[in-house]
Symmetry: C2
Subunit: 337 residues, 2 copies
DNA sequence: TAATTTAGGGTTATCGGTAACACAATTTAT
DNA sequence: ATAAATTGTGTTACCGATAACCCTAAATTA
């Protein structure tokens, strides 16, 4: 491997001079500078980031940890985060926890070991608390996205899940639906809790009954086995005419399960959900959704993270950005009587 | 920051002893081992990967560079790669080149600087040649996925694009289509070339005419501005009854552009494409596609990469895996006559 | 002309770990 | 009982870079 010493030897200068040329620091005569640069090109020199980070105590690397890389909400968010990081000269690395606390832990380990300068993280759930405390203890700045964790104070970017749920229920009520079901993520995930809360409030507001039986709390992640969803569909109140899905994947799974039972939206069951269903939604604009500004989640979150890193962690109180959600009405809801 | 020296001091041993405990190397008495371990826990010690990598000359980190993180084909591939890497104890980092040579270059820079042990890369196109030569020159093992680069010899995982195109044309011909158009990725991308070649061969095979006018070579990446696609649709041969899209996003864009013109598939135009349209395809199985085993792309590619790393680069000839493609017939093709 | 300043560049120590070797105290073999 | 092997641990040098300090020669200044 080519090192600054190789460059130094070949250019007849000291290693320090080479270092100065690389970093554009100190005083160097134009002559030496060009000479050193030529040798660097000749030898295809690439600085060793490990050595650099070791002495500088910073890596110029940021980390984005999401819970599901196959979910378009998170990949769009990732694009936003990437753009913001690049704008400030940071390099961005991704990790995918897959809604799995153990994998999250592994990535945390990687983050700590590699001494990443900061982390943008969508925690798997409330159980991520020790992971985030670990980051804090080790002085790694982080910003939460999409999900709060009770007991953790930090900068955070959230969607307005409560309001979103209210809008969805309101929309369904307007269309004449009186018995609405909810399939949701785990209650250990704040966004799921928010959506459930909004759901219950909105039911009350619209004089609709809440039925325990009509709520399934499962996981936001994709699943191969649809039997849980199917079984739930079989036992929900028979007069149910609409289902709210806590995210895009759940909506898809409900629709698949319905299809397996020979039922179809919106004729046999109305369906609405949170988050867009990928770009395909633009082709066949079918499912009525609460759309979240996924790109902004990533962009603003990353912006806050970088601000923290630059200002120093202690600068100012924690910031909380709540992004509004927007109801996009399409064709998956039937208007009743 | 806590270092092995802090541990060593507190445990009344030498730094080397601590290192031995961490890595489970050398001989350590059980008594010392537990003592050191206790101190490590007490101080929340995390090894500094920078320092470690510097002396070991390896990072235990692999890199996956894809061209579009919002495309479900690549994210599914990413899941496969991740699983394979984890299985062998490697940590995986992601990068997203966005079909952009400059961004690819930036990631390459990151890869070289951080001394990643190996790279799984979907090159942006033939112009990636110097990037790959750079990797080779610096002794970074890499495996190509999805796209070949003329002039580069390496392990590679490819789809059978020619055969896929043949199947699509065959299917359309069977359904009575005589004039078929193709919207494709850039000719500087091998997969696009393969698909075009297969397309032309299959036309001949089915006694169908090839018309220059009916082929648009654009980019595989998503675009905001659909005017190019729209303009092309307006000028293709008027007797065209079917369009083959070179990938999923192109199919979506064609359908959107058609919709903007008040036309709909399959009644006004039949559409088929390569790659699945995300999980939504399972709900409303609409577009007839050539499906590629995205997960296998990632899993097998990563497997090959790790084999190379473990065996040493020079072990054995380069391997090439060609994954078969499967035609999934759905409802986007109209039967003519 | 002597005293400063400035430009240009070299020396040394250090970041946090690990390999290679050294060495004393046991244990085992002869 | 003595030589040889084994065990457990410490020392030193080094991975590749940079900060802090030092030094010499030329350019300014008084």
């Amino acid at each position: 491997m080519v090192t600054i010493y190789d460059i130094a030897a070949k250019a007849n200068v000291s290693a320090m001079t080479v270092s100065r040329v690389i970093n554009n620091t100190g005083r160097i005569s134009e002559k030496t500078r060009t000479k050193v640069k030529r040798v660097m090109e000749e030898l295809n020199y690439v600085p060793n980031q490990m050595a650099r980070s070791l002495v500088l105590q910073q890596t110029n690397l940021l980390f984005l940890l999401i819970t599901d890389i196959t979910n378009p909400f998170y990949t769009t968010l990732a694009r936003g985060a990437e753009d913001a990081a690049r704008k400030h000269g940071f390099r961005l690395l991704f990790g995918n926890s897959d809604e799995d606390l153990d994998k999250e832990n592994e990535y945390l380990d990687t983050i700590l070991k590699t001494r990443t300068d900061g982390v943008l993280v969508a925690p798997t759930g409330d159980a991520s608390l020790p992971h985030l405390e670990m980051l804090r203890k080790h002085g790694v700045p982080f910003v939460l996205i999409d999900r709060e964790v009770p007991g953790v104070e930090s900068d955070i970017v959230l969607g307005d899940g409560k309001e979103g749920a209210r809008q969805l229920v309101g929309h369904l009520a307007e269309r004449g639906h009186r018995r609405i079901a909810l399939i949701n993520g785990s209650p250990h995930v704040s966004s799921a809790r928010q959506r459930l809360e909004g759901f219950r409030e909105a039911l009350k507001l619209n004089d609709l009954a809440y039925s325990e039986n009509n709520v399934l709390e499962t996981s936001f992640g994709p699943r191969n086995d649809l039997s849980e969803v199917g079984a739930w569909l079989d036992r929900i109140d028979p007069d149910t005419t609409a289902i709210i899905a806590g995210n895009n994947f759940l909506a898809v799974e409900v629709m698949r399960s319905l299809a397996a039972r020979g039922r179809k939206a919106p004729d046999d069951m109305s369906i609405v959900c949170f988050d867009e269903l990928a770009s395909y939604a633009e082709v066949d604009p079918f499912v009525t959704v609460i759309s979240q500004q996924a790109y902004q989640f990533g962009y603003l979150g990353m912006q806050m993270l970088i601000d923290r890193i630059k200002e120093g962690e202690a600068a100012g109180p924690w910031k909380k950005i709540v992004l509004p959600s927007e109801l996009i009405v399409r064709r998956s809801v039937k208007t009743l009587g």
